[in-house]
């Protein structure tokens, strides 16, 4: 696996794997993201996107989670090339 230049979860396309680096949000949204499992070193994959590419569905901690691109923008990641 090699690292890519991309940094934000919102920039990924369906099928891409990633490792979470940091959640850059405040208040409720940070709490929710972290509680649901967007933690440092957590691995996940983008499964699909809805029409107009928003929201997206991500698999993390063995479950499917949907979130908006604007929310995915708050998650720093490393892209994993499989």
């Amino acid at each position: 696996m090699t690292e890519d230049q991309k940094h934000l979860l919102s920039q990924l396309k369906p099928g891409q794997h990633f490792t979470v680096q940091k959640v850059n949000a405040k208040g409720e949204i940070r709490r929710r993201l972290v509680d649901i499992g967007f933690l440092k070193e957590e691995k996940g994959v983008v499964i699909r996107e809805a029409l107009f590419c928003d929201p997206i569905e991500v698999e993390i901690k063995n479950t499917k989670v949907s979130l908006r691109r604007s929310e995915a923008e708050m998650i720093n990641i490393k892209v994993m090339e499989q």
């Binding site: 409720e28 940070r30 709490r31 929710r32 809805a50 928003d54 063995n62 949907s66 979130l67």
Partner: protein, 719 residues
């Protein structure tokens, strides 16, 4: 029995009454099966659905376990004991203020990591905790093997395997909870170790908190200290307001947090959660095995590949809704006819047994036409709710929110608003209540203000009868179009409100997509009977009352003596019927309608519709019953009294499809029913909002109906 002796000891120790009721909180992550288990144990019928956020209010119930009386309280699902969303606040306030004897945390065994994150937070509260490893059937299917005994030992929390839908393990669960409540099982208050730095900081904060014993009595200091470490706004506020040395505690806390954040390079709340997840990871590594052979695509994934397809998602959603309505009408209409005939039969029985006169008219034209006219639509309501509950129970609702979110978002709404919107298509009363799934007050208020515009089960029969009468060839299509327009208008108003009254920030959309589940027959049946029960109840109360009032309003004052032919001449079989319409026009209701008529003319409505629309603010179905009463009275003697209302309306020369179209839009949009306004008042806490809602919807409905009618006339569709 050792067990008993212990109990006595415990009781004396705390000075409780002999038959102390045990209070148990049912808590846990969203969609873990809490309400399923609550219903099974208490025999209640609280709403269950396969998507997160079904339960929004705490609900309590009773049961006996052996000799013990237990009060169970079902709580909304949460991820954390923070206090951002309303669900979190409801659950957190309950466990902290009401101090249950035991918290039974319902855990989704297929997703233990995330569920244990909450379980450990409950443990930190210092209230005894029992964990239910629910969904153990699904876990098994997925090849997840849990060493229950070992995990329970590591966490120092009793765990019981359960299958909520089948009731398996629930007896054991209650037995365990009772034993824990009596202290005969030692749930040590062991808490996880957060690592040296945090433990240090934690101890320092506890020491600060202990300077006010009263405060520590009210709020468990161990837990409070962690919340302070997490910079939890609610905890900070509580310390500020209630702690004797609040300022000092907060100052010290800020210093400690700064140190932690510098040390770990992240926000302190994130650090705490990370440590907790780290601990969980360790505990599960020893106790949980996942067979790897089941990793190929699951059924849920396969279904979602179609349902959530980028381009097919929205068309599929619309198609599903269309099919549900089509199904509702094809099955519901013939049954409705049967009910109509039953009432017609009842009417003729009454006509034969009672002498003609005002009382007989009151029974036939007032009560039977009013209540019967509404009950005719019971089958429609039953089938509609059957369709909707299948969507809810399979798990499609959460998908629909995914598919529709972008769209909602454009109009400044949250994908979660989808839930109140969808519920409002059944009934706006629970719809407005379910707006609690929105934690942002602005999102919530906007949703409450606009979601009653949706088609609901009360508007359904009204719109159905009008589309059937005026568009006999395309009734299903017209109905569907009106249904869609309900959504569209709700969106437009939402956007307007979002841009004007409620400009501002929005809340997270982040949401788990549950696996598809096969709906239980029992669950669907429950939904159906409950909704139809409500409908029948409404017919027997609000609508009955409204029918009576309206009948009186339309029959009194009685026309002058020389007009009447009525009660004195029973053999003619004619009552006041022979004399109107002028007779009705002379009545209070008729006068009121006539008074409104000039204002209604531009929309093509006559005074009868005016009366019916006014009456229908009590409940939308009343529109039909009022027309029923109007036409019942209006019957020309030679007309067969069994002719359905539909024929009568059709024969009225004053009505045409164009007017009907405007009327349907008017009915969709104008003033929500009284029950809805009352619940809006309850939910928003003031009469200001329901008043505003009634006002803006009335103005909008009027303008739209006029616009449709006038445009139609211009285009030459007038007749």
């Amino acid at each position: 029995m050792i067990f008993n002796r212990h109990r006595h000891h415990h009781r004396e120790h705390h000075g409780h009454h002999a038959c102390r009721k045990i209070k148990i909180a049912i808590a846990g992550n969203p969609n873990a099966g809490k309400t399923t288990i609550f219903n099974y144990l208490t025999g209640q019928n609280q709403k269950i659905g396969n998507y997160p956020g079904v339960t929004v209010e705490k609900k309590s119930g009773h049961l006996f376990h052996g000799r013990h009386e237990i009060e169970l309280v079902d709580l909304p699902g949460i991820y954390s004991l923070s206090a951002y969303s309303l669900e979190e606040i409801v659950s957190r306030d309950f466990v902290i203020n009401d101090k249950p004897d035991v918290i039974v945390d319902i855990l989704d065994s297929t997703n233990l990591e995330r569920n244990l994150n909450l379980l450990l937070q409950f443990q930190e509260l210092g209230i005894p905790v029992v964990g239910a490893l629910n969904m153990s059937d699904e876990a098994e299917e997925k090849g997840i093997q849990i060493n229950v005994e070992q995990l329970s030992k590591i966490l120092a929390i009793p765990l019981v395997k359960t299958i909520g839908t089948k009731g398996i393990g629930l007896k054991d669960l209650m037995r365990m909870a009772v034993r824990v409540a009596h202290g005969s099982i030692n749930t040590s208050r062991r808490h996880i170790n957060y690592g040296v730095e945090i433990e240090d900081a934690h101890h320092k904060i506890i020491r600060q908190l202990k300077t006010d014993p009263d405060f520590c009595h009210q709020f468990p200091s161990h837990w409070m200290a962690i919340k302070l470490l997490e910079n939890d706004p609610d905890a900070l506020l509580k310390v500020k307001q209630h702690h004797r040395h609040g300022e000092a505690v907060l100052l010290e806390t800020q210093k400690i947090i700064q140190f932690i954040e510098k040390h770990f390079g992240d926000h302190s709340d994130v650090v705490v959660i990370e440590q907790r997840y780290g601990y969980i990871h360790g505990a599960l590594q020893e106790t949980l095995k996942q067979n790897q052979n089941t990793t190929n695509t699951t059924l849920t994934e396969k279904i979602d590949n179609i349902m959530l397809n980028k381009y097919l998602g929205i068309p599929i959603f619309l198609l599903i809704m269309y099919l549900i309505y089509q199904f509702t009408f094809t099955l519901g209409d013939p049954l409705g006819l049967v009910i109509e005939q039953l009432f017609a039969g009842l009417k003729s029985v009454i006509q034969k047994t009672f002498a003609a006169g005002i009382f007989r008219d009151f029974l036939t034209d007032g009560i039977i036409d009013g209540v019967g006219g509404v009950l005719v639509f019971l089958p429609l309501v039953v089938f509609l709710f059957m369709g909707l509950s299948i969507l809810e129970d399979t798990g499609y609702m959460a998908r629909a929110a995914f598919v529709m979110d972008k769209f909602f978002h454009i109009f400044g709404l949250h994908g979660r608003s989808f839930i109140p919107f969808m519920v409002s298509t059944g009934c706006a009363v629970p719809g407005v209540m379910s707006a609690r799934v929105l934690s942002n007050p602005k999102d919530r208020l906007v949703t409450i203000l606009v979601s009653p515009i949706m088609m609901c089960s009360a508007k359904t029969p009204v719109i159905a009868i009008l589309s059937a009468v005026f568009f006999p060839k395309n009734a299903g299509l017209v109905f569907w179009l009106i249904w869609i327009s309900g959504w569209i208008f709700a969106f437009i108003f939402a956007l307007i409100f979002r841009k004007t009254l409620f400009a501002g920030e929005q809340t997270p959309f982040v949401m788990e997509l549950p696996p598809y589940r096969i709906p239980t027959v029992r669950g669907i049946f429950q939904h159906m009977t409950e909704k139809s029960g409500e409908y029948v109840k409404k017919a027997g109360t609000v609508i009955l009352a409204a029918s009576v009032i309206i009948w009186f309003a339309l029959n009194f004052p009685k026309p002058p003596e020389n007009f009447t032919s009525n009660a004195e001449q029973p053999e003619t079989g004619l009552s006041i019927e022979t004399l109107h319409p002028s007779a009705i026009e002379q009545s209070y209701g008729g006068k009121f309608g006539k008074f409104l008529e000039p204002a209604l003319r531009p929309a093509g409505f006559d005074w009868k519709i005016g009366v019916a629309l006014f009456a229908a603010t009590a409940a939308k179905e009343v529109f039909i019953s009022t027309l029923g009463i109007l036409y019942g009275i209006d019957e020309a003697p030679e007309t067969d009294s069994e002719t359905g209302l539909q024929e009568k309306i059709k024969m009225d020369p004053a009505y045409n499809p164009l007017m009907a179209l405007g009327l349907m839009f008017f009915i969709m949009i104008y003033i929500p029913c009284i029950a809805t306004l009352a619940v809006v008042k309850k939910e928003t806490g003031s009469w200001k909002w329901p008043a505003f809602q009634a006002f803006y919807t009335l103005v909008a409905a009027y303008l739209i109906a006029v616009a449709i009618y006038q445009t139609g006339i211009l285009l030459g569709y007038g007749v």
